[in-house]
């Protein structure tokens, strides 16, 4: 800490100097307008892949929100024989229990994406908060949190998830009449905690660079509390990298949960879910029928779309030009 930052007269106090404040108040409006123009120009100049990604994501959101209106049949309704071929009534055929494939696919948009999104949000709240806390407090809090994260990350996520799910599912299986939602809740919490380690690492690294800035020091000297510094000084300056990271983490969590469901250990039946639908209909592939590819393709398409958008955002924020 240098002498000048210690000297209170060099800190501009907006209350003592109203002209500084009005200049501050006027500045954001101009900045906002130009930001709006900048954003619209960025959209116009976005590469085709980014457009493809944004349109695809919009379609998925639409399908997930209006699933009951769009689906011709119910999510768990058995409507025909097993493995019926596509026809006018069942546009994509029926599955291994005789449920309409198209309706299941549509409802699964809600379930699978919803679960992955919820997991990512929890993971971000947890990892982001702890990461900023570690960077702001430093010292032993940082040491303890970082070492815990190191250990958790030294076991591959899928393997750790399998171990944790065995324990959790045994507990739930012991209960009298357990609700199927308990399995999903356990899945969400386990995945969120495991994934928050990655968020923690990134947030801590980003926040470390912000904590050393003069304005954070000024806030500390003003006597602001820890929560204020995290919320008002660090968070606004860390959002840009965190948003791109959110997209990447979502893809990762989404693929991992789908893999677990495919292995029969994620989302439990009869909930419609893309990963378990692949598993249920997998036998058809050896007859040269592509049915297991629909849910798998639905997973792949959404992940590709999110990745394309994130790629474009990262490319822009890193200042690279074609």
């Amino acid at each position: 800490m240098t002498d000048t930052t210690n000297d209170p007269t060099t800190v501009i106090d907006p209350i003592a100097d109203p002209s500084a404040m009005s200049a501050d108040a006027a500045a954001p409006r101009v900045a906002q307008e130009s930001a709006w123009i900048r954003i619209s120009r960025a959209f116009r100049n976005a590469p085709l892949t980014a457009w493809f990604g944004m349109i695809t994501i919009a379609i998925y959101i639409f399908v997930a929100v209006f699933a009951p209106i769009l689906a011709p049949f119910g999510e768990r309704e058995i409507v025909g024989a097993q493995f019926e071929e596509p026809n006018a009534q069942y546009l994509l055929g029926t599955d291994n229990l005789g449920r309409d494939m198209l309706s299941r696919l549509i409802y699964a948009a809600r379930n699978t994406v919803g679960i992955a999104l919820l997991t990512t949000i929890i993971s971000f709240l947890l990892g982001g908060f702890l990461g900023m806390l570690a960077a702001t407090l430093s010292g032993w809090v940082d040491q303890i949190l970082s070492r815990i994260v190191d250990v958790l990350m030294s076991i591959p996520s899928l393997i750790f998830a399998l171990l944790a799910l065995t324990v959790a599912n045994t507990w739930i299986g012991r209960m009298d009449n357990p609700s199927p939602w308990l399995y999903t809740a356990a899945l969400i919490i386990i995945m969120a905690v495991l994934d928050s380690t990655r968020v923690f690492r990134l947030t801590r690294a980003v926040a470390m660079n912000i904590v050393v800035m003069d304005y954070v020091e000024a806030a500390r000297l003003r006597g602001e509390g820890l929560l204020y510094i995290v919320r008002k000084e660090i968070l606004p300056n860390a959002t840009a990298p965190l948003i791109a990271e959110f997209g990447l983490r979502f893809c990762f969590v989404f693929l991992l949960i789908s893999a677990l469901s495919f292995l029969g250990l994620g989302v439990q039946p009869p909930t419609a879910d893309w990963g378990s639908m692949v598993r249920d209909n997998a036998t058809l592939i050896s007859f040269g029928v592509a049915v297991p590819l629909y849910p798998a393709g639905a997973i792949a398409l959404l992940t590709v779309a999110v990745n394309f958008v994130v790629d474009w955002m990262l490319h822009r924020s890193s200042g690279l030009k074609d």
């Binding site: 250990v151 030294s154 171990l163 297991p292 798998a296 792949a300």
Partner: protein, 381 residues
């Protein structure tokens, strides 16, 4: 002592410490299970005396700390105890499967490492050309695909004889050129120059094939490739080349998934390197571009490339679980998933420990190799 040797020893100690902590976590998973393990195995009908005797046999009457050290001591010597579900020795269950999994992972690595390093290097050298853009889109898509999606596409195309393999590829290439064409049209070029008819035709064929695959309106006669088995039947006595043939599809799946990651990371590492001042200096003094790459860039790129390879080999460990289940490959991943389904916690524990140890070991090797190729890393700031 040589500084690299002392560094390697330090890292080794740190790795062992991590492994120890991980083993405590894995062991405590059993402690966290509800109820009594002995009761669980014998069932509700067992008399209290039998349960007590069985507890003694399993060593459950001892305090957890003592049991942990017994378990760890056994595990170090390859004795993981007995399976709860089948009552067999876990070491017997695992021995041949571990070999199979290592075979599959090394098969995939042998294919993936050279391909991805060469392609990554080319993409970095010819960056921002159409080649680089195509690699970018292809790898980004392949990263986004779940392993089972890639696996089932490969089964459909190479194992069960879904026809039109070549047309699919042409359709994809056509779609790609169409997108390139639209891109340059948006950049202000005349449409007549850039939108050739042939790619557009291929793109239409490709789209029609996708739609037909989904709805199955028109049933093509089977007659495509059926060269590879969709189920990897591997027994301990299978000869080497047969083993290679039977595990080709799982290895190819893993290769496709891992190559994309590895290629992107290699490209980023090389581009990062090419931006450094000494490369610019070498160029400015008029050195031959290939000489710049081989004598200046490559020695310094080794550390990041080794890192990339190790990270992705560690990634293979998780990818292997899903792929083994798809192809019914008799490996460790399959065993672990089966045991989780049966809630056979002792086997899950053993598999988890082996996977974690391999993962830690690979990261350790990467660290040591990276530092020994780049002495600057010996002295962190």
């Amino acid at each position: 002592m040589h500084p690299i040797a002392s560094m390697a020893l330090k890292r080794l100690g740190l790795g062992l410490l991590t492994l120890l902590v991980v083993s405590v976590i894995i062991f405590s998973a059993v402690e966290m299970l509800p109820g009594d393990l002995a009761q669980e195995i014998l069932g509700q009908a067992a008399t209290p005396e039998t349960v007590a005797a069985f507890r003694k046999e399993l060593g459950l009457d001892k305090p957890p700390v003592e049991r942990y050290f017994e378990w760890l001591g056994g595990a170090v010597q390859g004795d993981f105890g007995k399976s709860l579900a089948s009552k067999r020795e876990i070491a017997d269950l695992m021995s041949s499967r571990l070999g199979n999994t290592l075979f599959l992972a090394s098969f995939a690595a042998v294919l993936a490492v050279p391909i991805s390093i060469v392609l990554g290097l080319l993409a970095a050298l010819y960056r921002n050309t159409w080649f680089d853009r195509m690699i970018n889109v292809l790898t980004l898509s392949s990263i986004s695909f779940p392993e089972f999606f890639v696996a089932y596409i490969l089964i459909l195309m190479l194992a069960v004889g879904y026809p039109f393999g070549l047309l699919w590829v042409l359709g994809l290439i056509g779609l790609w050129f169409l997108m390139e064409g639209i891109g340059s049209f948006r950049a202000g070029q005349k449409i007549g120059k850039i939108l050739p008819l042939l790619p557009a035709l291929f793109a239409v064929i490709g789209a029609a094939l996708v739609v037909n695959l989904i709805f199955g309106w028109w049933k093509p006669q089977m007659g495509g490739v059926t060269a590879f088995p969709s189920i990897s039947n591997i027994a301990p006595g299978t000869p080497f080349w047969e083993r290679v043939e039977r595990s080709f599809l799982p290895a190819l799946t893993l290769t496709l998934v891992v190559t994309a990651h590895m290629m992107r990371m290699t490209r980023a590492a090389i581009i990062n390197l090419l931006a450094s001042p000494y490369i610019e200096m070498a160029r400015l003094k008029g050195m031959n571009p290939w000489r710049v790459i081989v004598t200046h860039a490559l020695p310094n790129a080794l550390a990041p490339i080794i890192n990339v390879v190790a990270i992705n080999l560690a990634y293979l460990i998780t990818g292997v679980v899903v792929v083994e289940v798809v192809f019914v490959y008799p490996g460790l991943g399959q065993l672990m998933v089966d045991s989780v389904t049966k809630r056979d916690i002792t086997v899950v524990q053993a598999c988890c420990l082996v996977f974690a140890a391999t993962y830690i070991l690979l990261n350790l090797i990467a660290d040591i190799l990276a530092i020994s190729t780049n002495p600057r890393l010996l002295h962190p700031k």
